[in-house]
Symmetry: C2
Subunit: 526 residues, 2 copies
């Protein structure tokens, strides 16, 4: 169906302003059907008021119902078939097979969170027994995690399904029991509208209260700032650029009531290749880096933008072979023109930078991003911090170290990162140990003998590192632990049993694993 | 011993500036021995540099050693005997028995966190198994909580031991494996110095690295801001006023790298007394509120500053009896003159406020705070939001409701609170249920049929509520869960076993309860 360009304020549709933007077919530059409007202040207020009005009902709702709703969203996204994928492909230039698997991942995430909600461990139920004989008497105290309230989600451009309208942030916030107001990404507004319709169909099917989910569109900064600064907003999820994430964080800092802002931003994901590994794994490193650097036309937040290695013959061989490999990879269409322009500009600058060596011959690929590879001596890299900045696209910079100490200095110089990788053989062990100790301080995930792209969705995943990789390294935006971002603990002291949330009641009616007087307590069935 | 007025920068002492302030004997207004100096920028930088230098060693240290250190601090504080308590009594006017029990609590907290560190559950170890046959292959991912890095702690004036130099924030941060830099509270600098000496004796005894603990003194805002804005600071703990906490939060927001600020600030701790409970428990409510309102001369963050009840005959009887009870309680010396002046000013204002009724006759108590009790119709209270502001001292305001709906409106109007209490009999059940649902949104801890003062230190305690009670309702500053404030998760993917933290290694060498592939895994001994 052709997008109608409406905002979805709970179950209402609205469009107070006339349409002011269209989306562009990224593969050919033509406008796609549908015009979209900036949400007005009134529309934003309506969405958040509806969210606020249902927040307590959602918080207290039977967890099974919330889980069913998440499953239903996955089913409705699936039911949209190729129509959804085709619109997404046009708006992002991402190929259909990639989008098919991205939708699969999105559905898996929704279903995984449904499982998390049913399981209940995320509530971290704790019970401390009363001791009326102690002086003073010890009260009965019980504690669990509860929904924070309305959450505003900003979708990412590079994952139009998995990190957008019904992506990880929305799934984890709904799982936590929070109403969600999404701001659709202005580069895929049609995809956003289709997914929003799926979510709302699922919400109606599951009889969720009005306001559980809203989506507004907008291209202006004003819409984003109004969402973050609205008094009912309790938390913000964002995936995008450092500039965008920081702007939202700063806007939140001016609020009367501070709120958490979970922004996942940039990262160069350094890969340290140690001497023996480089000497013995040339071919697999070449193939591995080429694939990882060019995955999704380099538009992954875990793209390996920095490779740190010894300045020796095997590294020179890798530079040659990786350069050749990248030169043979077809130039790709990026998400939109502005991203391509920024990438092309950065490549041009690096090609003319006298401190850098280019390892891929110049190609004329109009409208497409050609892979690039540069190298720089570690000494220069350490003197020029701007070389460590993220360059979004299919490119990497190899830092050549004269000594192991220089490699450790590069490790020390790093900004916060989503990931760091260490390629090491048995004989590289001593340096690998030192790097592990040093690098951990800067990252959320350490990868060994593998490449950083591909973020496994599971209970142990940590996708979030120190700033500027994210605004809050205490959280993850991928994996089951992402639900914790939208919760806060509440304690009940000496509460009558029937006034307690059911999960904290006597005799453990939900069969949860609970911490009782500091000791794990398992229901008989576990 | 007479305080030397030095700052402690790790194991070094320093005093670059001359002393510029003394502490005042709060019981008689005389200066106490010792002059204290403002820390210079250089001294602050030295403390944080030492902290940064030992951060990785502390993070990776055997947990048993960290636990022994916490135990040793408790032992050294105990060994200081009455000298410590007498200095604290002079600096705060708190009576010796109260300080003796506060030291007991402080030691218990330290030992409790030692137990938490040894136990290891706080690490939240999670392991997801590899599946090399899956396409794409599923990696081995393991995750646990790790120390954030240097933490700056601001002591509170109202708990010179339990929430100060070696109080809950310091204990939980050290337990987490973070170096700590304390800013001594300028109203008890001598007590702060004595406790800092205990901590450093314990650190030496346990061979902790230099920089594990530092303390600087200062009365100026500049010292506090420099500590919060130092690039090595990774988190801030604060207990004090809304104005002070907000200033630190705002200062942190201007940093290049954002950091968490855990400020525990004000609260009026509303108590809802429902109709039947009021009718049937007059005497115990009178005694209970009188004790709770006047505890520590009303200088508790959980002081019941607001009582919400029906405007009926039993409530009028309570106003009379509670007024009489408070009139008979001796006026107390507050922590310092400025706090008394603010309290006296607020009481004077309320006494002349035509909307309020006073229930305690005026007493002339120079230099001391006399308890006060006021009442106001709910309609007026709802029209005048400033009446809900905290009034630090032995005073409470009773809000008189004409209808249950009016009581629910008062509940809806509340700002964030540390606690709320509900006094309800069986027959009050329906309203108690409605209030429970509504009030939870605004508080960290719900108390039933009891008074909010007295915060039990245990695994299920939640001491922290929505702003302005704290700056971060996702955390607690009391109880074992307080350790989580100073941790962040890190994941290791496909790491060689010996490069992993010992807690994540194969065969569970530490015998931890771990989440393996989403299912709880218990070592045989549990």
């Amino acid at each position: 169906m052709k997008p109608t360009g409406h905002h979805f304020l709970g179950y209402e549709t609205s469009r107070k302003k006339q349409g002011s933007f269209t989306s562009i077919d990224a593969t050919n530059g033509e406008p796609l059907p549908g015009t979209f409007a900036e949400a007005t202040g009134e529309e934003i207020d309506r969405a958040l008021t509806l969210a606020q009005q249902c927040a307590m009902e959602l918080r207290d709702m039977d967890r099974g119902r919330r889980a069913d709703f998440l499953d239903a969203i996955a089913n409705h996204m699936e039911a949209q078939g190729d129509e959804l994928l085709e619109r997404a492909a046009a708006e992002t230039a991402l190929p259909l097979p990639r989008l098919r698997s991205e939708r699969g991942r999105t559905m898996n995430q929704l279903r995984m969170f449904a499982g998390v909600v049913r399981d209940g461990s995320f509530l971290e139920a704790r019970l401390d027994s009363a001791d009326p004989k102690r002086k003073p008497p010890k009260p009965d105290v019980r504690r669990m995690q509860r929904a924070l309230g309305p959450v505003v989600v900003f979708g990412a451009s590079n994952f139009p399904l998995a990190f957008s309208v019904a992506g990880g942030d929305t799934a984890s916030a709904l799982a936590a029991g929070c109403p969600v107001v999404v701001k659709g990404h202005p580069n895929h507004p049609g995809t956003s509208e289709l997914v929003a319709r799926s979510v709302l169909l699922a919400a109606k099917e599951c009889d969720m209260p009005d306001g559980t989910f809203s989506m507004v569109q907008g291209r202006s900064h004003e819409v984003g700032l109004a969402l973050v600064q609205h008094p009912y907003t309790c938390a913000v999820g964002f995936t995008g650029s450092l500039r965008g994430g920081r702007a939202l964080l700063d806007a939140a800092a001016t609020r009367n009531v501070p709120i958490p802002v979970y922004a996942e931003m940039g990262s160069v994901n350094p890969s340290f290749v140690l001497r023996k590994a480089m000497a013995e794994r040339g071919t697999s490193l070449t193939k591995g880096f080429a694939t990882s650097v060019c995955m999704g036309v380099g538009q992954f937040c875990t793209n390996p933008g920095l490779i740190v290695a010894m300045d020796d013959r095997p590294t020179k061989a890798l530079l040659d072979s990786l350069g050749q490999e990248l030169a043979g990879i077809e130039a790709g269409i990026m998400l939109h023109q502005a991203i391509l322009d920024t990438y092309d500009g950065a490549v041009r600058q690096r090609r003319t930078d006298e401190d850098l060596t280019s390892h891929v011959p110049l190609r004329d690929t109009p409208g497409r991003a050609a892979p690039a590879l540069f190298s720089v001596p570690a000494k220069v890299f350490l003197d020029r911090p701007e070389l460590a900045d993220e360059m979004f696209g299919p490119s990497s910079l190899v830092v050549l170290c004269q000594t192991e100490d220089e490699m450790l200095s590069v490790a020390r110089s790093l900004d916060g990162q989503l990931t760091a990788s260490i390629h090491a053989n048995e004989d590289d062990h001593e340096l690998a140990q030192k790097l592990t100790t040093l690098v951990e301080q800067h990252v959320g995930r350490m990868v060994y003998n593998d490449f950083p792209t591909g973020v496994e969705v599971g209970p142990a995943m940590q996708h979030g590192g120190p700033y500027p990789a994210t605004t809050d390294a205490r959280s993850t935006s991928v994996g089951t632990a992402a639900i914790s971002r939208f919760l806060r603990p509440v304690a009940w002291q000496d509460a009558p049993n029937d006034l307690l949330p059911v999960e904290l009641r006597n005799d453990n009616p939900c069969g949860l694993v609970r911490l009782v007087d500091g000791v794990w307590d398992f229901p008989p069935s576990v």
